[in-house]
């Protein structure tokens, strides 16, 4: 028999371009202490720690979790480190949940982080490797051709990206932890910002952030105890899924990757979701460049092919719409790469638990957390809900 798993504590740091006020362990402990406090637990109550982050070149520390064993309260306990590129925050949470689902542990702490100010993130992402082609257009130039193809195929108006960036940045103002707080942002300011790789403008790209998020996951009895202590209900995990496909393969379509479609289908099947748009109340989706919102709306089954932009344009993905997306401000406001996926998963859980404060969607009972990485090839998703499965 496998165990039910719930999110019983969530904590994150104030994300910023440079968190110069904390060391690397300090950055993690800020998130960890908040998550433990939220769950009314201490480090002594944790059975195992599962961490994830993106390439170690970002901090210049090889396999830093070893160094962090003491800081994570992990001495004498199992410590596990996941690395699945940009989706890592999501897949880490899924691996952590599976430890409980398998019946091996009762309470697992999971942490995702990145302290990108430690090194030059653009360099770490794309330094020249001999015998490989150098992309003189940089990381954005890698993705922009696919975005252009989406615009061409769908016939979308050219300002859809502006609408997404504006929405996410305005939502970010309601999230005290978000990195970017731009109270003066307007449609015009986004439209007039520097064009980087058409159609992506400067204000439509994710920042580079220092930040961490931690969650405490528990089995059924741990969830009952946590709710009794804290008064905050758990967010039950209704489904998890991961899928990967090759970076280059004939038949691949980075605009609507097959791995994304199949991952969504798998997580919906586990969670009993047959009508995603009708049954899901709020979505936290990994959108590092604005146009990925309409693209992912389609591949996640919320809109038909070529129609995702209409949902954005109509305001359906606003907090006031019928499918709010990225009420937290999303990756466009906050992007510590190793944490970004877990931030989506954690914010989805916070919505269910009523902890999202000013960016709370009232009455949210079912939420989707989504993360992706690589050449749109690695996907990790989970559905969390208020009802015990």
């Amino acid at each position: 028999m496998t165990e039910r798993v719930a999110v019983i504590g969530v904590g994150q740091t104030k994300h910023a371009a440079i968190r110069g006020d904390v060391s690397l362990p300090g950055l993690l402990r800020e998130a960890v202490y908040r998550a433990l406090a939220d769950a009314h637990l201490t480090m002594a109550d944790i059975d195992a720690v599962v961490v994830g982050k993106a390439p170690d070149f970002f901090e210049g520390i090889m396999m830093p979790e070893g160094y962090l064993a003491e800081a994570l309260g992990c001495v004498g306990k199992p410590l596990f480190r996941v690395h699945t590129a940009g989706s890592v925050g999501g897949s880490t949470a899924i691996v952590a949940a599976s430890h409980i689902e398998a019946g091996v542990h009762e309470r697992v702490l999971t942490v995702g982080w990145e302290q990108q100010s430690c090194s030059e993130a653009m360099w770490a992402l794309s330094f020249q490797i001999p015998f490989q082609q150098q992309l003189v257009a940089g990381a954005g130039g890698y993705f922009a051709p696919f975005i252009n193809e989406y615009v061409r195929r769908s016939g979308a108006p050219e300002d859809i990206g502006i609408l997404v960036a504006l929405k996410d940045r305005l939502n970010g103002l309601k999230n005290p932890y978000a990195h970017l707080h731009e109270p003066d942002i307007t449609y015009e300011s986004v439209r007039d910002s520097f064009m980087l790789w058409e159609p992506i403008r400067y204000s439509e790209t994710c920042p580079s952030s220092d930040g961490a998020i931690a969650m405490v996951l528990g089995n059924e009895s741990a969830a009952a105890q946590a709710e009794a202590s804290s008064g905050v209900p758990p967010a039950w995990i209704h489904g998890t899924a991961m899928r990967s496909e090759p970076s280059v393969a004939m038949g691949r379509d980075q605009i609507s990757p097959l791995a994304s479609q199949e991952c969504a289908a798998a997580v919906y099947a586990q969670a009993g979701i047959t009508d995603p748009r009708g049954q899901i109340d709020v979505v936290e989706m990994y959108v590092p460049f604005s146009w990925y919102e309409p693209m992912w709306l389609e591949t996640l089954g919320f809109a038909d092919e070529g129609e995702g932009w209409k949902m954005t344009e109509s305001g359906a993905t606003q907090m006031s719409g019928d499918l709010p997306v990225n009420c937290s401000g999303g990756v466009l406001c906050t992007n510590p790469i190793g944490a970004s996926g877990m931030l989506r998963f954690g914010e989805a859980a916070m919505q269910i638990r009523g902890q999202a404060g000013d960016h709370q969607v009232d009455g949210a009972r079912t939420a989707l957390g989504h993360a992706y990485g690589g050449a749109a090839q690695f996907f990790a998703m989970w559905v969390v809900g208020a009802a015990k499965p």
């Binding site: 210049g60 004498g76 996941v82």
Partner: protein
């Protein structure tokens, strides 16, 4: 708990430097051989998990390219750890316990030859106080060797005997890199590399990889005539600050061993001891009796491909169970410096 077994495995012939192949070309034949050993193809596998390190490859996201060696189309359920692939096996074992998978392919690999391994490994230290001093991995391990000598637990002759025994055993291992050994007296006559460490106390620098296939219950029985059943598996980590722990003992190994159910009689043990003086720390923490054959493969002193050497210990025990030469074995994998992180696994042939 579901019964899960290692049903097949394959390794490279480990070498100091595989110049003509990149990592993908290195690991693909090993993956193919492991799948063939179970009589299956990738379509029969429910979950794939690998272990590798960006810092060894000198490339960010380096594990992405090895997905080509798997054949991830249609899309697969796949994950990766930035750890020795023994921990990738642990993730796969957990996945099978959840019931979301009945089988798994695990692989680990590295090419240490592109970089200067002892310097690369110095990046795995406290970034504020230790890494800026650039202590190379050999000198750092020497601190543990010195502690063992000063505590009177081991002598330099003991260290040479361990190195000699392992490398002589490696002569029977077609995949081993360093086989055969000078006599113990001749070893002791060699100069120090980094007092108290001599060259023979150190692992070789290796390029290589390993792949393992796991399966549950009846599936395992259909894929292998004698599966190696995982009876217990656990992993733990000790503190990072070597000044704050006793380097002559490994509490994380003792804890993992207790949780994995290491007790009773064993035919063999494969322990991941990159340095000679680490072997007694491990065997002592495992509580092994003196009659257990330790490292019939030659261990990490004979071949030490990073990110794979730990999983190789499990594969070596499993192979000897599957070929009938052993009934019960314990395998150990380590990560980090001075045996900081450890995984212990009990494997049995009887079903």
């Amino acid at each position: 708990m579901r019964d899960v077994a290692i049903v097949s495995s394959a390794q490279t012939a480990h070498r100091r430097s595989v110049d003509e192949l990149n990592e993908v070309e290195l690991i693909q034949p090993v993956i193919a051989a492991a799948l063939a050993g179970a009589g299956v193809s990738i379509g029969d596998i429910d979950f794939v998990c690998s272990g590798s390190s960006d810092y060894l490859a000198g490339q960010a996201f380096s594990f992405v390219m090895t997905l080509d060696a798997v054949g991830a189309w249609p899309p697969i359920v796949e994950s990766h750890v930035e750890m020795d692939a023994a921990w990738a096996l642990y993730e796969a074992w957990i996945k099978i316990q959840t019931g979301h998978a009945d089988s798994a392919l695990i692989f680990g690999y590295s090419k240490a030859s592109p970089g200067d391994l002892p310097r690369v490994l110095s990046r795995q230290l406290d970034p504020y106080y230790q890494a800026p001093l650039w202590p190379d991995a050999v000198a750092y391990a020497g601190l543990q060797g010195r502690a063992m000598l000063d505590a009177g637990i081991i002598t330099e002759r003991d260290m040479a005997e361990i190195a000699h025994r392992n490398r002589m055993a490696a002569e029977a291992n077609p995949n081993a890199q360093v086989t055969g050994s000078l006599s113990v007296d001749d070893l002791l006559a060699q100069p120090y590399l980094s007092d108290p460490i001599r060259r023979h106390d150190c692992p070789p620098i290796s390029d290589g990889g390993v792949a393992v296939v796991l399966a549950a219950g009846d599936l395992a029985r259909s894929w292998s005539s004698r599966p190696a059943w995982i009876r217990g598996i656990d992993h733990r980590i000790d503190g990072h600050q070597i000044g704050a722990r006793d380097l002559t003992v490994a509490p994380s190994i003792a804890t993992a061993a207790a949780k994995a159910g290491v007790s009773g009689r064993f035919d063999i043990a494969e322990v991941h001891a990159p340095f000679s003086f680490q072997e007694p720390i491990i065997t002592s923490a495992l509580g092994l009796s003196d009659d257990v054959m330790v490292n019939p493969s030659g261990g990490a002193l004979a071949a030490n491909p990073m990110m794979a050497a730990g999983l190789i210990r499990l594969a070596e025990v499993a192979a000897r169970i599957s070929d009938g030469s052993a009934d019960r074995g314990v395998a150990h994998a380590t990560g980090g410096h001075c045996l900081q992180q450890n995984l212990v696994c009990v494997l049995e042939g009887a079903s």
